[in-house]
């Protein structure tokens, strides 16, 4: 990468789990540079270490060798959105969105105002005092997105956020996220199984190999920004999807 000041820079990053002789190489060695404001999608077969990479970036896990550098102004630059279990059943929707701000000891009045602003933006204003258990899957994931963005993170980490949703809802939430990220320009690492999702959302799509995960291909979807979900219907989109699928199928089959 030509960028002299990448937001995120991984050098010879690897991670193994367990101790010999039951050692499992989960990730790498992996080289990666992400420019500020870039939206990078990672696709790869199950168990290829995508989540491991994300957890290292989030500071939940340390690499076995190598380093991951994050250029930032804060000590906790990242916010993470999980596939499920991310939001708390025992907090109201508004309290969930406010959670990150509460942890950072933002005064209650400011925190509530900021939470409400995000709830309105995500179309959740009417549900501010509801408990997550009463919401649909799509609503719950909107709450998770609002919670992550409410702390205005420098780095947004998304671990298959839409995997548990049905196909229609996925498309809708992809379009919403596309809208949102094109106004915010937050540096994002987005993990998905879906090539379509990666091509719609990403400035760059990285294809990872089966375990231990390495980057085997890199694509920049040639759709200018700001883009909308309509690019799904273009022939270029279908062609690119087919090309990436050929690559991914080889990795997914032997495992």
């Amino acid at each position: 990468m030509g960028d002299p000041h990448p937001k995120l820079h991984a050098t010879q990053l690897t991670r193994t789990f367990g101790r010999a002789p039951h050692q499992v190489d989960a990730l790498g060695p992996l080289e990666l540079s992400v420019a500020p404001g870039e939206f990078v999608c990672l696709v790869g077969p199950s168990g290829c270490g995508k989540s491991t990479l994300l957890r290292i970036a989030a500071g939940l896990l340390r690499p076995t060798t190598g380093t991951l550098e994050i250029r930032t102004r804060s000590l906790r630059p990242a916010a993470m959105i999980f596939q499920d279990y991310g939001i708390y059943d025992w907090k109201s929707v508004r309290a969930n969105v406010r959670f990150g701000l509460d942890i950072q000891r933002v005064p209650r009045r400011t925190a509530n105002a900021r939470a409400d602003e995000w709830l309105t933006r995500m179309g959740l204003a009417d549900f501010a005092h509801a408990y997550p258990a009463t919401l649909s899957g799509g609503m719950r994931q909107r709450v998770a997105i609002a919670r992550a963005l409410a702390v205005e993170p420098e780095l947004l980490l998304m671990d298959e956020p839409f995997a548990a949703l049905d196909a229609q809802l996925r498309t809708i939430l992809q379009d919403e996220l596309l809208d949102l990220t094109q106004t915010l320009h937050t540096t994002t690492l987005f993990i998905t199984h879906s090539l379509e999702e990666a091509l719609v959302l990403g400035d760059r799509v990285l294809v990872m190999s089966a375990r231990p995960g390495r980057i085997i291909a890199e694509h920049r979807p040639p759709f200018p920004r700001p883009r909308t979900g309509d690019i799904r219907d273009t022939p270029e989109f279908t062609a690119l999807k087919g090309e990436l699928w050929e690559l991914l199928r080889k990795e997914a089959v032997p495992a």
Binding site: I56, R62, T65, T67, E69, I70, R71, T72, R73
Partner: protein
């Protein structure tokens, strides 16, 4: 390691391997060694402190005999064979009562967990009995079984029964309906359902109850032997206090502690062998 290195306008946060990643074997070994030495050192330090307090006369050694006195006394009693009849009497009662209590508690818990009508019929009654301190039932058992082994075993059985019953029932109720449905769709008979689904699905939680019950069984038998028995460790402890043989009393207490630990460890090991699929409990403290 996560460190901040000063930059120009921004700084660079670096995620890099920590000691656990750089020297995994060494870190693991050190951690284990530390855990093991703490587990040995803390009790040892307390015993040494007690010894020092007794020899220095900070505490009255007639009331609180030195650990060395207790140990040598226990040794001579064990060598002379005076100790074993009491240990054996207590062990026999615990094992007998535990076997009866576990079997009945498990059977009833399973029945009440699977059949809501049985649950409706018996749950209020058993809930009411559950809160009665079991030691308060000893006089009833004495009336029922007379003196001898009967009331002692009945008391242990009653105590163990409630622990196993309640953990079995809640474990069966907590089995995800998907597990039952899969069995039903395949046409499982009640016995097959029990054998393939209910038994294995409930076993980990049942074993937690069984392990707690193992500790409580020892606790209860010692108390009841103090009240109504002519032998056993509880009787030994109480009797020697009455005779002002405080060192013998402590020998009895140590024997009870050892018996309790050995018994609940046996239940734990048996549980681990019976449920190879369940995640292992990492801390000893977790049941």
């Amino acid at each position: 390691m996560t460190t901040i290195a000063p930059g120009r306008e921004e700084s660079v946060l670096i995620r890099r391997p920590g000691p656990h990643e750089l020297h995994p074997v060494r870190t693991h070994r050190r951690r284990r060694a530390l855990e093991l030495s703490l587990a040995v050192a803390v009790p040892l330090a307390l015993v040494l402190w007690w010894q020092l307090a007794a020899t220095q006369g900070w505490i009255d050694p007639r009331v609180y005999p030195a650990p060395s006195t207790i140990f040598s006394d226990g040794w001579t009693r064990a060598a002379a064979g005076d100790l074993w009849p009491d240990v054996w009497a207590t062990t026999k009662r615990v094992l007998g009562g535990y076997a009866i209590g576990t079997a009945t508690g498990y059977a009833l818990g399973l029945l009440m967990g699977s059949l809501s009508l049985v649950r409706a019929a018996l749950e209020p009654l058993l809930d009411a009995l559950y809160v009665v301190p079991k030691l308060a039932l000893l006089p009833v058992f004495l009336n029922m079984f007379g003196l001898g082994e009967g009331p002692q075993i009945a008391l242990v059985a009653a105590t163990v029964f409630f622990f196993v019953w309640i953990s079995t029932m809640s474990a069966v109720l907590a089995i995800p309906s998907g597990h039952r449905d899969a069995g039903r769709v395949f046409g499982a008979t009640p016995w097959q359902m029990f054998r393939h689904v209910l038994l294995p699905a409930s076993l980990p939680a049942v074993l937690v109850g069984a392990r707690i019950a193992a500790g409580v069984a020892v606790l209860v038998i010692v108390a009841s032997e103090q009240i109504a028995a002519t032998n056993g460790l509880g009787h030994l402890i109480f009797d020697s206090r009455a005779l002002f043989e405080n060192d013998v009393m402590f020998v009895g207490i140590v024997c009870v502690a050892v018996l309790g630990v050995v018994f609940s460890e046996l239940v734990r090991v048996a549980g681990r062998l019976l449920t190879p699929w369940a995640p292992r409990d990492r801390g000893r403290g977790q049941s």
